[in-house]
Amino acid sequence: MIHTPMDKIAKATPEPMARKVRGLSDRTIAWIFVAPSIFLLLAVNIFPLIWTIRLSFTNYKVNRPNREIDFVGLRNYERILTDSDTWMTMQATAHFLIWTIVLQVLIGFALAYLLNMKFKGNDMWTTIIVFPMMLSPAVVGNFWTFLYQPQIGLFNYVVTFFTGGDPSSFSMIGDVHLAPWAIVIADTWMWTPFVMLICLAGLRSIPDSIYEAAECDRASKWRQFWTITIPMALPFLMLAVLFRGIENFKMFDLVVQLTGGGPGNTTTLTSIDLKREAFEKWRTGYSSAYAVILFVTVFGLASIYVKALNKVKER
């Protein structure tokens, strides 16, 4: 330790003064540390967002930069919200969102409950189960098209192995009724581990003493499950639903590779529709309005949900 006169002064002076003596103030350092991140986020997120909002009131088209830009007011918004195709897309998204969340919560919670029994080797099996969610969704989606091939695909073969029938008799991604389920199955395969991990943390956070007390009061296992396990794991479950909800509302990569939105428009989720409008039809103004609507929807739903989540936590 070096004792310079500076240190002696520093030590003798009260805290805030001492800091000033030793170089930059905390406030300056705080700004130096935070500013680059905020600046980058402003440049890559906020500035584009403002630009999007501005474009959403125009008829701008990227592929015709020389055309005069007209301000069209709210016409883009009006056209999107009155377009029946938009509502079809919203329906497809809702189907995908609801069923993936239901299946993932049910399977994920069941798995977490079983893993929490702490049998031998449960850590190793947890890691194995987790693999799918860490992989690249686009690459996985592309490969699932192979698994879903009638006749040569593993999926059809395994299903008909159990149910009987001909593996070439159905096509998961070619049939308008099956395709919405094909994307639900692939997403559930990929993301159930996510819900499972969060539920497992929830179950592990419940202290044993509560169960011991319930046991003393001769509460049945069934009752313990509904009055202790579920309520105490609920905030975790809700958090898992929040994350999955936001992610699947944005869903693009897995589904676009798996079905490309087809057959027909049966699996055209909002992001896929938006991509077509913006980067295939090049209707920049229109798709900007679309993007704003989506963002407001996610943000609005998420805020309401977070409020509900906080209420559950406080209970």
């Binding site: 406030r27 992989l135 690459v139």
Partner: protein, 312 residues
């Protein structure tokens, strides 16, 4: 063994274990299938019923890394004898190698963009997280929420103005553009995760260092950084995995020079139709590093995927 009323009986454990193992086997099956398909011959890969036992071959991997054309038998016979094993393998299919495929290039792009953005993100993220953790930053909660909310936007929605902006700045289809973009996207994760890790380091260590005459900067990099090393490392791996797997921005903003592997792998086709072994080989090479990282990360996995909201 001590007796506990809450400990499940051995029989219950056995049943639970069996159910979980059954699920694990089913869930791992598609992954095993990807890896296995990479070692099949094109004929085996599309056989009916699907072949579980097959003669492994490296054809898929050779096809992945090469570009080939089909020749008729006379022309093939007129060629000088094959020099390498892979040359020979391709000749047996009635084809000749005409050059290297784009896969190696795309894979390297993934490496450059992945590591570049992760590094930048860690530098910016650690600094910001430290400031948020230790100092009274005005509007701290609002700023933190703002940082998190940037992750809620659908990538396609953000891509429209970014596409326009990058075009103006000449950043479309460049490594730098993608590195900056992925850094911005990953900042929310890294700031939130790292703040959690730094919050756990007792402030007393730094206070002791400050009393010993360290400046704030010195205290930061000599005391806090080493303490946070594990947290920084696992956060870095999460950022790397995200950048590695990302598809939406990559497919919209890159086409040639800076294209990463995820948009490229699905476009692999062989001579005459989809070459599934080559696709599977490409996918395997691309997915295996992430699986290794997952094993390394298993203790911090939960924290990483929930932005630090759940800590075990």
């Amino acid at each position: 063994m001590s007796f506990s009323v809450t400990e499940p009986s051995n029989r219950t454990k056995w049943v639970a274990g069996t159910a979980v193992v059954l699920y694990a086997v089913i869930t791992i099956l598609p992954l095993m299938w990807i890896i296995a398909t990479g070692f099949k011959s094109p004929a085996d890969s599309i056989s009916y019923p699907p072949k579980i036992l097959f003669e492994p071959t490296l054809e898929g991997y050779v096809n992945l890394f090469t570009q080939r054309t089909r020749l008729n038998e006379e022309d093939l016979a007129a060629l000088p004898p094959p020099e390498t094993w892979y040359d020979e393998m391709v000749r047996e299919q009635g084809q000749v190698i005409t050059g290297a495929s784009r896969y190696g290039e795309r894979f390297m792009n993934s490496v450059i963009i992945g590591f570049g953005s992760t590094f930048l993100c860690m530098v910016l993220g650690t600094a910001a997280a430290y400031a948020f953790s230790r100092f009274r930053v005005p509007l701290k909660d609002d700023l933190l929420f703002f940082i998190l909310s940037t992750r809620m936007m659908p990538p396609i929605a953000v891509a429209i103005p970014i596409f326009l902006m990058f075009r103006q700045l000449g950043l479309n289809d460049t490594h730098l553009g993608m590195i900056l973009l992925y850094t911005a996207v990953n900042l929310s994760l890294s700031v939130w995760l790292l703040k959690g890790f730094i919050d756990e380091i007792p402030v007393e260590y730094e206070e002791a260092a400050l009393i010993d005459g360290y400046t704030r900067f010195q205290a930061f990099y000599k005391v806090v950084l080493p303490q946070a090393a594990t947290g920084i490392a696992s956060t870095a791996i999460f950022c790397l995995i995200f950048a590695w797997n990302e598809y939406a921005f990559a497919v919209l903003l890159t086409s040639g020079t800076a294209q990463t592997a995820p948009p490229f792998i699905p476009t692999i086709i062989g001579v005459g139709g989809k070459d599934w072994p080559a696709v599977a080989a490409g996918a395997t090479i691309f997915l295996v590093p992430v699986m290794v990282f997952t094993i390394l990360l298993r203790k911090h996995l939960l924290r990483g995927i929930t932005f630090g909201a759940v800590r075990k």
